[in-house]
């Protein structure tokens, strides 16, 4: 008969493979045990290594910018993250879901040295969420906007697999610099950035569109699903205080074209009345 229940055996095995201090202590004691009771040290270390490599692989693939910035610290950070926030979902990629939260709660030295790191981790994680989002993107017809009435009765349909983010730091710029290998030792000053992260309905890839504060406001209003093109123009004019309204309208129309072309808007719907 085994000395332990199945539950206890699984608990011990999990600790042996996942907890390095438990493993080292057990294997140190193990050396003095009689052969018959010995734990297979080589096997135990191999499983520990395989698990660690698996965690490191998935984290590095989801957070290439954070891992590049943290450099040699990355492996230790991932190890600590997995200890504190172990995977609780059956999908491997979800292992990474709590990393931004981990950085802000448990990594004060990192957030002090790299005050933008939590936002950068969020930026990288949102990309994964967008890629995996279950919702389907059904692209519809775009209404012709040739008369004032068209603006009043039609609303843009916003891509449902889209996240609008506002960051304290210039995260898209930091990401670009890291990608080019130029961001490793740079200090970045706080400078608000706005970005639309969304999934392209044709390629299924994630896209990043950096926008200004006014466009961010317009996007929030458009996401409500009840704002007509006319409502959005009003918002644009109000936000562009002191600017010639005609110029603002022209810029707005260019923006609408761009948002439709890039599949941020995936069609139009009729909601308003012209009266």
């Amino acid at each position: 008969m085994p000395a332990c229940s199945l539950r206890e055996l699984e608990k011990n095995l999990t600790s042996l493979w996942m907890d390095s201090s438990y493993r080292n202590e057990l294997l140190w004691e193990n050396a003095r045990r009689p052969d018959a009771e010995k734990i297979d040290e080589r096997g135990a270390r191999l499983y520990a290594e395989l698990l660690q490599i698996g965690h490191l692989d998935v984290m590095s693939s989801i957070f290439p910018y954070c891992s590049a910035i943290l450099g040699r610290k990355w492996e230790a950070v991932v190890k600590d993250y997995i200890q504190r926030c172990p995977p609780i979902h059956y999908r491997l990629n979800r292992t990474a879901s709590r990393f931004p939260e981990y950085l802000s709660r448990y990594a004060p030295e990192l957030t002090k040295k790299y005050p933008f790191i939590v936002e950068l981790a969020d930026y990288e994680w949102v990309e994964m969420e967008i890629l995996e989002d279950e919702r389907q993107i059904v692209v519809g017809e775009r209404a012709g906007l040739s008369t004032p009435e068209d603006f009043m009765v039609h609303a843009p349909v916003v891509n449902p697999v889209l996240s609008l983010r506002t960051y304290v730091y210039p995260i898209p710029t930091i990401a670009d610099l890291v990608e080019e290998g130029r961001g490793f030792r740079r200090k970045f000053k706080a400078s608000e950035s706005h970005v639309i992260i969304y999934r392209d309905p044709l390629s299924h890839r994630s896209r990043f569109l950096e926008i200004n504060a006014a466009t961010s406001q317009i996007m929030k209003q458009a996401q409500s699903g009840t704002a007509t093109y006319s409502d959005l123009i009003k918002t644009a004019v109000n936000l562009a205080e002191g600017v010639n309204p005609q110029l603002t309208v022209t810029e707005f129309l260019d923006l609408v074209d761009r948002l439709h072309e890039t599949s941020v808007f995936i069609g139009s719907k009729s909601i308003g009345t012209s009266s």
Partner: protein, 345 residues
Amino acid sequence: MPVTTQSLAPTVSKRSKKRANVSNFLNQKKSLPYLGVGLGLRRELAGETLSTRDRIDWLELVPENYMGLGGAARDRLDRAISAFPLVTHGINLSIGSTDDLNNDYLKALKRLLAQTKAPWFSDHLCFTSFDGKYMHDLLPMPRTREAVRHVAARCKRVQDEMGIPFLLENISYYMEVPGSELGDADFLSEVLEAADCGLLLDVNNVYVNSLNHNFNPYDYLSKIPLERTVQIHVAGHKRGHEFVIDTHGAPVVEPVYELLQFVLERVDVKAVMIERDQNYPQFSELLDELDRIREIALGASPKLLPGVNVEAFREKMAARKQRPRLAEKYTHDMGEAKHARVLSA
């Protein structure tokens, strides 16, 4: 250790014969379709896989890569459903865990099985989670009598809930688990029979385990209820300093083909497939490996290949053998470029 079909052993264990006439599963197995020779659907090879219907009979997919996912995964799934017979092969059912079964997982799996119209589904005889935490690896279980009862009960439950036959796969393992009361073959046999479910026999795992744990793989096959085999996995492995590792990242070796032949000559098998998960070769090399399996199946168990024109296939293989073999050229898995940032206004 010589690993050849010379070391022939009895096919069906006495225990299995005794149980066979009370098995619902074995009756069910008779009505399962012959799928032929298939391939695991992998993102990196999806384009080529999905456009090669003439040389791939069916596909196996990892349900966790599709359950509740949209985007590219959903698109890939839809294309696979429209072109191939599919079965699912899970990695995180965690059938051996003493945690409760994950109901969210089961619901998502059931939806996927309905979508794919899979004739059966499978997972591994292992545990992958404990105390609500997933370790994302196939971990060997303590092989105890309690574990047999525990796993068997859970197999019955998932089989009932999914409504189609469930297969358990023998895993590769790299350490003897402390507290075990049974050997690997006995543990697998007792679980399969107590659960009355099917076997997904991974012949590469048998071979890898035989090297790592120093046993004769044919002895192992003689001890397990081979007649429960519905599907067979074939794969490659890597020889390290201390262990042979089941990497699914190398060509299939001859002794593994021999084990496949040994099984096909003895029991009725419905489907065989190659698992390739990394270090991807030219796609044509994978297709050649599938043809090699077809060649073995034609000699050992032709009914596995219902759609194959035997004469035409033999002529094709004969012609191929006359050509000089190309040097092995492997490409590294670069994956998809992660950040396809095309817009930065």
